[in-house]
């Protein structure tokens, strides 16, 4: 699927802030859908065609996500929050 700019060049902060508080989101556009699921390690984004049954996407996420391991957290923020 073509995009306007490379994903790593886009500033995702505002978009991620708009997802605050959401467990799952299903965005419907004219030409496709985006399913977004909040996980332990970040947001999973699935690009879909218009008429994909969402139940199958959710089921596959439920099956696959537990096998994703969170990365070891660095010291970047931990050192500021010593108990």
């Amino acid at each position: 699927m073509a995009v306007n700019e490379a994903p790593e060049q886009r500033d995702w902060r505002f978009f991620l802030d708009s997802l605050e508080g959401m467990r799952e989101t299903d965005l419907v556009f004219e030409k496709g859908r985006i399913y977004i699921r909040k996980t332990e390690i970040g947001y999973l984004m699935v690009l879909m065609a218009l008429y994909v049954p969402i139940a199958m996407i959710r089921l596959n996420c439920d099956i696959l996500l537990p096998s994703l391991q969170p990365s070891k957290s660095g010291r970047k923020f931990g050192r500021f929050f010593k108990k």
């Binding site: 995009v3 306007n4 700019e5 989101t25 965005l27 556009f29 985006i34 929050f81």
Partner: protein, 336 residues
């Protein structure tokens, strides 16, 4: 971050001598001058000051009055007293008034500089971070329920601001003479910042009523309005441009859902709510990024009792549904 130190003394020769003497510390702090307490108040309004060093005996407004004013209006700014009329009683008064340091004249410039540097170091005792996005970091402060004072410097323009947190709650924000929510909106709109963290928060009173997240979203909305991105065509369009009243439109939508899907549609409520507008704007832009065309609607699961379907428009239409509703069917009916 270069910090600002305000020197206040009616002896202008000494002021300039001190400023010249502190040149060697220019990598650590910059010096601003005032000849009396009233001038000092003006400087405090126009600049973010990290430390005040003040004489006691001055015309118009003396050091004790200035100390009291700073303690009341800028409790995060430490004050060091310098005086040529030092007595033990005077020192006790100054410390009881909130001064963090007391130096009798005459003194060595190096001694005063050392005390200034020690005091300024407390501002960064929690650490410093460079070139980060403030929004993400501040949400961490909220999540961890930290009590701290965060000093920020915008990387691009060099503007400075302060945020006060107690148990993760934002109590106040300050930029020069702006305070409260308007100052918070300005700070949150900065892209990349350097920040320093000071443990503890001198403020007790909450001057900001909103939660952090709505403040951040409002800051982004205001920033978008000031500097709108070029929005590709078809990102957001009104559902109806005709003269139909909102209530009629909502009733028509409700009737359509109930007719097409029946009793098990799971429809709980249907209303318009501008609270979602800024989120809808952000969500719609991702469609432009992936070239998916016009944003039609969003299904939101927040883990609440109900889920929400958002339909963009002049004011966002919110369809509140049972989480067990036939999601695909409802989305197809609404988007047709």
């Amino acid at each position: 971050m270069i910090k600002n130190v305000l020197l206040v003394d009616d002896d202008t020769e000494m002021l300039h001598a001190l400023k010249a003497g502190f040149q060697r510390y220019k990598e650590s702090f910059a010096v601003l001058l005032a000849e009396d307490g009233l001038q000092a108040l003006e400087v405090l309004k126009q600049n973010i000051i990290s430390l005040v060093v003040t004489d006691l005996k001055m015309p118009k407004m003396d050091g004790f009055e200035l100390l009291a004013h700073v303690m009341q209006h800028y409790p995060d700014i430490p004050v060091i007293i310098i005086t040529g009329y030092s007595t033990p009683e005077m020192e006790q008064l100054a410390r009881e008034g909130g001064a963090v340091g007391y130096i009798a004249k005459p003194f060595l410039i190096e001694n005063l500089a050392r005390q200034i540097l020690t005091t300024l170091r407390k501002e960064s005792e929690g650490g410093t971070l460079h070139n980060i996005s403030s929004g993400m970091f501040l949400q961490l402060i909220e999540m961890e329920q930290k009590t701290c004072t965060i000093r920020l410097e915008e990387k691009e323009g060099g503007k400075k601001g302060i945020l006060f947190f107690r148990d993760g709650e934002l109590l106040d924000a300050r930029i020069n003479n702006m305070q409260g929510e308007s100052a918070a909106h300005k700070i949150f709109s900065w892209d990349a910042v350097n920040l320093s963290i000071q443990n503890g928060c001198a403020l007790k009173e909450n001057k900001i009523q909103s939660d952090l997240q709505p403040l951040i979203l409002e800051a982004m909305r205001r920033k978008d309005e000031e500097h709108p991105e070029a929005v590709p065509e078809g990102v957001i369009e009104q559902i109806e441009s005709g003269p139909e009243e909102p209530t009629e439109r909502l009733n028509r939508l409700k009737a359509k859902i109930e007719k097409e899907i029946g009793q098990q549609c799971g429809l709980e409520d249907l209303y318009q709510d501008a609270f979602w507008d800024s989120r809808v704007t952000q969500l719609s832009k991702i469609g432009a990024f992936f070239q998916l065309g016009k944003f039609m609607l969003a299904y939101i699961d927040k883990g609440d009792t109900n889920d929400y379907i958002l339909i963009p428009g002049p004011k966002t239409t919110v369809v509140s549904v049972d989480p067990r509703c036939p999601r695909d069917k409802i989305l197809r009916v609404i988007s047709e």
